[in-house]
Each structure stands twice: as structure tokens, then as C-alpha cells.
Homo-oligomer: 399 residues x 4
């Protein structure tokens, strides 16, 4: 494809839609290819994007990446107990995949120019551009919203002038992002730290008050740190997430309300719905705590924190992230077993966990054992904190 073609990462929203005429009028491209990556957003949105693209005459591709998203991004994050300031990073981890699918399409089409609709204030510009540049170092990337310091009113005016269909965009009050791992709702008063979010913003979860009156007990089977079955039923990765989103959402599980530090230093209140992610993360941790050593649990939390920072920032192909994953992968070999939980009106309660790799020994743990001679602890207790106690002796001498 000629140099005059640009691949637009396309969501169908206002920001990306105006990029279509803009790429021709202002950036000099002859042809715009639009790519929408399906990572679990509303099917209506995927369809709407394709329709808009058709209206505006781009060469449009919809890429189904559901299972790839779960296998290579959600499960990876799960193994790292991936969370940033209380948030399972649903939006963050979809961005690198979108970049990856865009690059794959560009390679197929022989295109090296990209455009995206991210603003200059947020995190996504970093995630998308890092992804594209890592996978295609020679790429040219345009970020028109940022480069032209656009405002929403300017965008609307431009859209109207250029026959860009934006009906739905105008009605939107909130800014929403969705994928299998979660749903974020931002904008307006929602960003204030002490505004109580209205019930209407939630679509995937019932409130605890309105959740089912009977909870459910579920059994999750893990293999190497990732779920493979719910209540004994094996399913594809994306089905395991979709089903759990339903089960947990119906029981009021998965709402998250936090103050979040964005990459550039803005502190913003954020609302998320992450039903499946919340359940799987809690179950995964419970199983890890059964099979990993105390030292592994302690040190892995440092690894997980660093991994999560990098995932949040979209540094998906950073060599340090790969190094961290080598550590994580080695630990997950033993994270195989079952976790039984109860979901009830917003609560996720672990009822039990079992594994062939459990570091639990009934003999050692039980109270009335004779396998352990208590006297042997004497020296260990006596020497415990020796240096700290020498410090206190010196302190007393000084006073």
C-alpha cells in the first residue's frame, strides 16, 4: 500500500471519527484504513464503528481479539495479581493489544503510518504509541487531538461541517471504556473525590442492595495460575470471563471507586465495574497463599507491584516486564488447584482452597502433635532480635 495510506485505530467515538476527514484534509493522506479491535466492548459499539466507517468511506476492519485478550493479557495480569491503586487495570491492558493488532494489520497492508484519537492529557497516548513503536520502530504516528490541542466543542463543530455522524456522541454524558476485564466510567462530576456516583452509571453490576437475594457458591479450578473451569465446566478463556462477569455482576460484585494517579500526575476519582476480574483476583491470591512459601508471597508482592506499574503505563514490551514475568511464571507452576467462593450481595467470600502443591501439613499444624518437640524452639526465641536488644542495652547506657 502506498505511503499515502494511514491506519486509524478506530473506536467509532467522536475523537476518532473526526480523524477520518482530518487525515485527508490536514495530514495529506489519500486513504484511511480504520481498524476496530474487539476486546469485549459493547457489540453495539463494534457494529456502530463499522457502520460509521462505511458511511465515511474508509477501508474498515474489525478484529476479534477476545480470546487473545484474555489469554495473553488478562491471565498474565491475573498471575501478577495485577492491580494499580485498587484497580484491576482493565483499560490499561487492552491498549497494548489494540496497538499490536493495529501493527499486525499495518504489516499485512504494507502501511507504516498510524493515527489515534487519544488526548494529550491521558494515559492512553503513552500506551498506544509505546506499543506501536516497540513493534514497528519505523512507524509514523499521528495524534491529531493532542497535536491540535482540540476541544470537544471544536471537534463537534468540525464533525458537523464534515458530515461525520456523531449523534450518539452528543448524547453521552460519561466517558466509557469497556472490555472483558472491566468497564470504566469517567467524566463530569464523577471525577470529584466526594461526589457520590449515581446508580445509572453502572451497567454490569447490580448494587449490593438490588443484587440477588440468594448468593451462589462457585468452585474455580486453576491451572498454572489461570482459571480453566467454573464448577467443573471447562470453557474458552473469553467464556470464562464473560460467564463470571454475569455471575458476579448479578450478585453485586465488582464495583470499584478509587482515587487514581494518572501517569502525568493528575489525581482523578475513577469508577469501575470489574466483576470477573475481582473474583478471579481474590481466588488467585487465596490459592497462591496456599502453595507459595512465606518468602515467595512477601517478595512476589514487590514483583507484582512493579509489574502492575508497568502494565498501567502500557510498557507491555519493556524488557523489565519480561524479566518480571520470568519470575512470575516460575511461581505459577504450582498455582494449580481449586478455590471455593461465595458471591453474595457484593461480597466475595473464600470458603476453602485445595491444591496438590499446598504447603499445609496437617501433622505440623495440628495442636496436639508429638512430631514437634517444643523445647527445640528455646534457642531460636532466645536469640530472636539479638541486635535490636543490644541496641536497647546501649540506649540504656547512654541515658
Amino acid at each position: 500500500m502506498s505511503q499515502k495510506t494511514v491506519l486509524l485505530v478506530y473506536s467509532g467515538g467522536l475523537d476518532t471519527s473526526i480523524c477520518i476527514p482530518l487525515m485527508k484534509q490536514e495530514y495529506g493522506y489519500e486513504k484511511v484504513v480504520t481498524v476496530t479491535v474487539d476486546v469485549g466492548q459493547s457489540p453495539d459499539d463494534v457494529k456502530m464503528a463499522a457502520e460509521k466507517a462505511k458511511i465515511m468511506g474508509t477501508e474498515h476492519y474489525t478484529v476479534n481479539a477476545l480470546d487473545e485478550f484474555v489469554t495473553d493479557f488478562c491471565w498474565q495480569s491475573l498471575q501478577a495479581n495485577g492491580e494499580y491503586q485498587g484497580y484491576p487495570m482493565s483499560t490499561s491492558i487492552a491498549r497494548p493489544l489494540i496497538a499490536k493488532k493495529a501493527v499486525e494489520m499495518a504489516e499485512k497492508l504494507g502501511v507504516t503510518a498510524f493515527a489515534h484519537g487519544c488526548t494529550g492529557k491521558g494515559n492512553d497516548q503513552y500506551r498506544i504509541e509505546f506499543g506501536i513503536r516497540s513493534l514497528m520502530p519505523q512507524a509514523t504516528i499521528h495524534a491529531p487531538v493532542r497535536e491540535r490541542n482540540m476541544t470537544r466543542s471544536w471537534e463537534i463543530e468540525y464533525a458537523q461541517k464534515n458530515n461525520v455522524p456523531i449523534q450518539q456522541s452528543l448524547e453521552k454524558i460519561w466517558s466509557i471504556d469497556e472490555n472483558l476485564w472491566g468497564r470504566s466510567i469517567e467524566g463530569g462530576r464523577l471525577e470529584e473525590p466526594d461526589f457520590i456516583p449515581p446508580e445509572e452509571i453502572f451497567q454490569w453490576t447490580k448494587s449490593a442492595e438490588n443484587a440477588l437475594n440468594e448468593g451462589i457458591v462457585i468452585d474455580i479450578q486453576f491451572q498454572n495460575g489461570v482459571p480453566v473451569a467454573i464448577n467443573g465446566d471447562k470453557a474458552s478463556p473469553s467464556q470464562l470471563v464473560l460467564k463470571m462477569n454475569q455471575l458476579a455482576g448479578d450478585n453485586g460484585v465488582g464495583r470499584i471507586d478509587i482515587m487514581e494517579d494518572r501517569m502525568m500526575g493528575l489525581k482523578v476519582r475513577e469508577n469501575y465495574e470489574c466483576p470477573a476480574a475481582s473474583v478471579y483476583l481474590k481466588a488467585h491470591k487465596a490459592l497462591e497463599n496456599l502453595v507459595l512459601t512465606r518468602d515467595e508471597i512477601r517478595f512476589k508482592s514487590i514483583i507484582d507491584q512493579e509489574w502492575s506499574r508497568m502494565a498501567y503505563e502500557g510498557l507491555w514490551w519493556d524488557p523489565l516486564k519480561e524479566d518480571l514475568e520470568s519470575f512470575i511464571t516460575h511461581t505459577q507452576k504450582r498455582v494449580t488447584g481449586n478455590v471455593k467462593l461465595k458471591l453474595y450481595k457484593g461480597n466475595i467470600t473464600v470458603l476453602g482452597r485445595k491444591s496438590d502443591w499446598a504447603l499445609y501439613s496437617e501433622d505440623l499444624a495440628s495442636f496436639d502433635t508429638t512430631t514437634f518437640d517444643q523445647r527445640e524452639s528455646t534457642g531460636s526465641v532466645k536469640n530472636f532480635g539479638l541486635q535490636a536488644r543490644m541496641y536497647h542495652q546501649l540506649l540504656k547506657q547512654r541515658v
Copy 2:
């Protein structure tokens, strides 16, 4: 007091009760002083201990340490977001205080010999002995249960022979520890990772199912990282905890069920009820996330983890713990403000937070701002992850 006197840290239970005759018969002491430190266990237990002591003829002291426990131990732990593997360390942080009050009493009485009833398998022996030895380096410490490798059946037999009152001890199925910050229930099948704990073990919390049908909204006021008022009502430290234990417990909040790694390497399942601690910890974190910088939040979690390990191990007077607290105290100067939460059927939901120290700026955060020129982000995005991208260029050259 003569060298022939020993101070027994006394709970009134079987382990410590048999120590009374034992100290005279087997350790050669002429006099046993018993000290029970009230840190919020059941008032019946405190009273029962005094009665048993009277029956067995010791010089008995009950030390009320409720406010000291909250101010110097619970609040300290709260500022450090103190938790170990999911547990707010209620038992752990009471032990050093018990050691401290025992030493204070010993100093008053001129005693330097101590006895305690900890077994040789658990954590408490480390915590109690480290505390006593730090505060009184010349102390002699006896741990008869450990030193004689006692079993429960031996203890019961010995008690019966020596007229030690143990009626209640015989009836106990579970091993329970209580203080204002939480209640632990151990023993028997409860230690198995996949045994579902029976409802009867819980006394401070209703189940989510049986909790109040109407939740409550509460406002907690923090000053320097510690609560000072609930719904605007100031109260003493211990009252703030007692009241919150009631409010949260009635709403099904505070049950904790984890696998826990004890200090000597045993992995045991543990059940806790920590209603107040759970609420205050969640509120405190929410406020920190409003006022601390992103870097402070990230790094403080490493500090908090280390502090928690030390608190769990009872290293209360370790110089490193003091160093960590210097860091923590400096951060807490700004953790002043209010957090509004809803407690409902097991859920703690943060509804809002505000503070004069909030690093939230409406100007910077809002969407349609003109204070921020998006174009200025271009270079930052372009250079983001530069070395990681060089790595990929080299990788491509190698393939």
C-alpha cells in the same frame, strides 16, 4: 521484692493457670505475681482471671491498657496500613503491650523473673520474650509449656492434681484471642484450608445474610492518619474502636478467612473478626490516596509491608521499626480529612473523601480545560520507553 518472686503474664486460661503451682513446685519460686493486661478481651475473661488468681493465692494485678493499646498500637498500625497476608494483626500487636505492662509492673515490684504460657510452636513466644528482653535486658524468662514440651492432656492432669480451676477450659472447643483490634478463632478443623467455618465461631460480626437490612452511612474524621470522630462525634481512642466494632459487626463487616504463614514456617488457616480495624483501614487508605503523591503511595506500600512483617513478628522495639515509623509519621501529617463510607451486609463502600491536603485539582482534572496545552505532551510520549524500544530494534536486528 526478693529474687524468689516471679511475675506470670496471666490470661486465666489453662496454659497460664498451671504455671502458678508449677513456678513454686518446679522452678523454686516462693511467690507468684500474676498480671492480666486488659486490651479489650471479654470482660468476663478479665474477671475470671482475677477470680482464679485469688483462688490460687497469687498477688494479682489487672492492668487497664485500653486507650494505650489503641493510641500506641492500633493507631500506629493503622498509619502503616498494617496487615499481614490479609490480617490486621490484632493478636500480634497486643503482645508487645502485654510485655510492656508486665515489665512496668515488674519494675515497680522489683521483680526480674517472668513466666508466660506460650507454646513452643507459635508466634507469641517470640513476641512476648522479645518485648520483655528489649525493655529489661537483665530479665530471666521462663516458658514452662515450651520448656517441658507439655501436651494438653498432661496439662489437664496436672491441673486436676493441683486444684487448678479449669472448668471453662475443658469446655472450649476453639482457641480464642480477643482485643479491641480483633478476635481470632483457631483450632481443630478450623486449621484445614478447605473446611467451611461454622457460623457459631463468630461473636462480633453478623453474617452478611443476617446483617441489618438497612446499611448505614458514616463519616470518619481523621487527623494525622488516625480517627478522631465518627459522624462528627469525638470520642476517646478506645471508644472509637468499640463503637466501630459494634456498627460494623452489625452490618456483617470484618470477617477474615486466610491462609497464614506463622513465623516458624507453618501454614495455617485462620479466622478473624476485625470489624473496626477493617473499616478504619479501608477509610485510611482512601484518604491517603487523596493526599499522598503517586510516588509516596507506591513507596509507602513497601514501607508498610516491612513494618507489618516486623509488627507480626512482635519486633516492636526494633530500631528498624522506629526508622520505618519516622518515614510513616512524616507522611501522616497530611492524612487529615474526612471519609464517608457505607456499611451494608458485609460491604464497606467508600462514598467520598475530602481533605485540605487533597492533591486533586479541579482545574487540572476536568475534561474541557484550557489550562493545559495538549501539544506539550508530544515529546514526553515520543520519548516514553526509549530504551525498551532500542531493545526491540536490537532484537529485530538479531533475528
Copy 3:
């Protein structure tokens, strides 16, 4: 002073000298105030800056900040064992002080506009601007070299057109930065990882080959983690550094040659001469290892690494840096004592250390002691690594 005045942070070099006419011609200022902060660079450079300023007609101030630099910056860094990738951060820690003195002068003169000569590629722009903005949030800052993407040839041409004296600048082959804590030499082939630096770039240190034939033994007295005397002679902070630069430099001590990662991701080879810093850092660490506990030494290295990252980036007034310093200050209370070293042909050899706070006990350490009953270690050794061994038992069962 009117809005039409700008305060130029002035070194006398080419970059800052051309800013003088530029501020008037291109930025519209009526008056330029130049400030040179003396942090221990060559006295000739300080004098030369004043002379050039006179020629170009600015209102010029030379600020002597030698003792403040050592007390508040070098000693602070010493207490943190401050080093970044092997470099004692001499240049880095002078920048915040320069910003601070500039702000102090601006406040005195009623000026709120600043200019500096940092390029857009290096670290100093971050350090200087963060300092000014932290201390004077309303400041306007100009960075002409960066903002106009200047090249050296453009600068020379502009200087010649505008009668800016640049004789010395033209002769310079290397880019040099000096202060009491060290001297950096950059530029040209020196930046290549495998170029052997020519002897001529070094001015403060003799080579090991040409160093004195007789080494010297020195005794450094520390109080609270900072030096107070050399060989028993007390001296002012700046004198303690100047004297040690001489003693160590004569003995070939203090040359550093590293690959350094700059803030924006460039990896550059750097050459430094830091004689005093090298000696004091080694002595300080030796004393810490005598008085701090094993756990403090381990954890403080994590604190020190974070502090050093922040100091390298010039985040001098970041609240996290203050938090870290609260930790550090608490540890340094005991870093009081003496360290004896030998300096000889490039080597710094610790010969001995002593302190009233030493956690060394002759009784405990000596071989033939009877104070320690070896049998008491049995249980501790037996239980050591218990979980790791359970892991191996499980492994064997799986195979």
C-alpha cells in the same frame, strides 16, 4: 522590580552568555539580572562570570553557597550513601541549590521571571525547573537553548554578532562541571563506551601510577552520619571537603568511569573525579555497618536507592524525599564514631572502625566463649527453610 526583569542563572559559559542579549532582543525583557552561585567550581570561572556580566551590562550577583552546599546537600547525600549507578551525584545535587539561591535572590529583588541555559537533552533542565517551581509556584521560566532548539554553531554565530565574549568557550574541548562534591568531564569521544579517556581530562586526581609513593593513614570522626574532623582536627564543612579532595586526589583516589542512564533514556559514558566524596562514602558505609542492625543495613539500601534516584532527578523538594529523609535521619543518630583509612595509589582501605554504638560484642563474637550454649541452635537449624523443604518433598512426590 518591574515585570520586565528576568533573573538569569548564570555560569559564564556560552549557553548562558548568549541568553543575556537574547532575553532583551527576543523575550522582551528590559533588564537582565545574572546570578552565579559558587558551589565550589573553579574560582577563575566564578570571577570570569562576573567579568563577562560586567561587560554585558547586567546587574550581577555572586552568591557564596559553599558551606550551605556541603551541610544541606553533600552531607544529606552522604547520610543516604547517595550514589547513582556508581556516581556520587555531584552535579545533580548542586542544581537544586542553584535553583534555591536564584529564587531567594528573585524574592529579594521582586522578580518572578527566570532564564537558564540548560539544553533540552539533559537532566539539568528538570532539576533547575523543578527547584524553581517548587519554591516559587508562580514563577515564569525560560529555557532559550531548548525552546529554540539551538545548536552550538548557531550559538557561536549569535554570540559573535552580539559581542558576547566567548573566547574561552571556543577553546573548550570537553564540557566540564565542578563543585565541591565532584568534577564531571563530558563530551566528544568521552561518551563512547569503549574509548579510553586521556589523562589530560583529570585535574583533581593524580593517576594511581603518578600518585604519591607513600600513602597516608587518616582518621575521620563522624557525628550523626557526617564528618566533623580529620585526624582530630575539626573544620568547617566546606574545609572538610576541600581538604579531603586534596588528600585523596594526591593519592589517586576518586576517579569514576561509568555508563550512566540519563533521565530521558540516553545511556552515556561519564567520567568523574570525586576524591572527597569517594572517601567519605566508603568511611560512612563502614561506620554504618558497625552500628546499624542487619535488617537496617538491608532495608536502608532500598531507601538509599530511592533517595538517590530522586536526588539524581533533582526532586529535592519532593515530599517522598522528605519522608525518606525522616527514615535516614533516625538511623544516623547512631552513626557516630571514627573510621581509620589508608589512601594509597587509588585505593581506599578501611583499617578499623569504632563507635560507642557498635553492635559488636566481644563476648558474643569470640570463639571460645561459654556465654553461648551451642545446643540451643539445634531447633533453629532444624526448622530453617521448613517451607522450602516441604516444597522439595512435594516435588519428589510429583516426579
Copy 4:
């Protein structure tokens, strides 16, 4: 072999020699098998051990483990920049190998009982016993010196009574441990923090004063983080270490004098000679700093510290250590290249480093480049430390 046989880990020294008669007289064994593992100690010592064993009539085995030691232990440690408080852990990392070879021999002979001569005060008892128990969970282990709280005088008397040859032991003033990775000298006044060690304790290194007058320049070739050639000459692992011990020792390189915290809390001064280890560690770090990203360098230092703690404690087969090694191994894939150093009178000076994986780009690094538009840094600098600056604004409002 019958249950009546015990395998003694045998060095030929006093502690282990008396174990031979003791195992029969006091522990009831019929047969003692002695195993001496050659990890690079003095060949005389290895020979002497075999001779003594012959005299005392044990079934004796000498196991040559030189290359295994270097490949699996020294190189592993090198990749982790293994050092503990300044010490390359030579003694520490040989202990697990000794345990491993003992277990291999025991398996061959059908023996499950072990004895070793470690005291109850030191680190080696932990390392040896953890190794044996990890590799053979059913092992029985005897530690007679510890279990009987032996003193040196008792040992000598017992040896004389039982015809144990101890001539050399009596003459020894210092306690010495040697292997390819280093030599430790302990005991007597050497343990005092301020005693200047006499020249006579050193055997592998010349003093800086007496080192060769002409230094040498060497080139070390690394592949995947381990040396493969010196000056282009490939050699076996053990030869690479032996040769470097010679080269470096002759040039006065490798003496180490530190305060060291032993595992049980004793702080002891230690003297080491580690010529090869010192050179390889410095070269390895220099190469890492060329090829790893800034973030990898920063984070790997935390990994390395944890790995080193575990190696020091002999936790060689701990699963966390394996997890850490997965991380390390992934980073070392790029640590391939050459480092040129000069060794001269105690100094190791890096002269240059090169690698195909260097993250050094001449284009990006050079001064007068036009590939980089400095203006693009403006926004990044302006937003740098945003939250820290908001903190200062709030601070000013509060005052």
C-alpha cells in the same frame, strides 16, 4: 549399606576429625564414611584429609567438584552480582555444593545418616543442613560439636585420647576457609572492628604496596553473563577463575575487610581475599550497565540483594531463589560482550566495554545532533514533579 553407617562431611580439621571416633563411641555407628569435596581449597589440605582418614580407618572419598562449583555456583552468583555486605560470599556458596556432593555419595552408598563438624554459633550449620534436608528429606543429621557444646580445649583433649592426628590444627592461629571464589581468614583479634590485620594472614594477594610495579590490561569476554575467555583465550570455568586469581592477586587486587552480620545476629569483622571474584564482579556490572535498561538496572539490584541474602544463608534450593533466578537468567541473555580492565596495585579500572546489545546510540547521545528536537522536552519538564509542586502550593497556603 546398613543403617549403622554414617557419612561424615570431612575437611581434615580438628572439628571433623574428632567426629570419626565420636560417631562410633557416642553415636553408635559401626562404620564412618568420610567425604572431602574439593572446591578449590589448598591441595595440601585435600591430601592431608585423605591421609588422616586413612590413618583413622574410614572409607574415604575425595570428590573433585571444581568445574561444577564454578559453573553452577560462582557463575550463578556472578550473574546475580552476588555480594553480602561487601563480600562475594565465597564460603557461603560452597556449602550447598558440599551438601549436594555428600548427598550424591550417600545415595550411591545407600546411606541416610550424616555428620558434620559445624559449630552451633555460625552460619555453616544452616547451609549444610538445609542442603542435605532439601535433597534428602529423610536424612538423619548429626552435629556433634553443636550438640555437645564442645570447646576447643575439650576437642584437643578428646583427640589426644583417641589418637586423632591434629598436629597442624594445633599450630593454626587463624581459622581459614578456601575455595576458588575466595579465601576467608577469621579468629582471634581479627574479629575486632579496629584491629589492623597483619600482612601474614594473606596468601593469595600481594599488598598494594608490594604488588607488581607494572599493572596489566586484560580483556574479559562474557557470554550470557559469564566469562568465557581472558584476552581471547577460552578456558574451562575453573581455569578462568584460577588464572584470574593469579593475575589479580599479583596486582594486589581482591582484599576485603568488612563488618559482617552473621545469621544469628553476631556482628564480626571479616577478612577475605577474593581476587577473581572481585574482578569478574566489577566487569560483569560494567557490562550490565551497558546493555540493561535503566529500569532493569534499578530493579535488578533489588533482585540481586534478595538473591544474595538467600545465598548467604545457604538457601540454595529455596523456591524463591529459583524464582529470582528466572528473572536473572532472562536479563543475562544480553550480557554478552567484552570488558577491558586495568589491574594495578589494588585497583580494578574499567577502561571500556562493548556489546552488540549495548543500549548506547551514538546518534542519540552526541552533542550536536539534529535527530532530536529539544523543543519537545518542554512539556515533559513543565509537568515534571507536578504533584510535589502541588504539595508545595498547599504548604504555602497553610503557613
